[in-house]
Subunit: 65 residues, 2 copies
């Protein structure tokens, strides 16, 4: 299976947000993540980098207004 783990990244710190992510759907105010079990999580973030061979999705938080 080729799911990936999603992390918030800030500087050199990684914070695991959701494991086994299958789908990522950008929305107006963030990203909707869905794992392989169908669990969904909405995050106020944008994609900073995908590294698929490493199974990693790096996100950066969107500042609250």
């Amino acid at each position: 299976m080729c799911e990936a783990n999603a992390y918030f990244i800030a500087g050199d710190k990684e914070e695991l947000i959701l494991e086994s992510v299958d789908k990522v759907l950008p929305q107006e105010d963030g990203l909707l993540l869905e794992d392989i079990f169908g669990h969904r999580k909405m995050v106020r973030a944008r994609i900073k980098e995908l590294s698929l061979v490493e199974h990693k999705i790096y996100l950066e938080k969107i500042d609250e207004r």
Copy 2:
């Protein structure tokens, strides 16, 4: 290996842009795609959806200004 293929999507049409994509790096004016062989391609597009279990990255074109 868990690379994915990148497609432009418009309506129900898919147009293959790059196969075996490992890295996706959002830039100011588009996305930098890098395949598993290190070949890079810059596209004026944003991510519309990731479907990692299907190995697909769906992109939508950014309108030229």
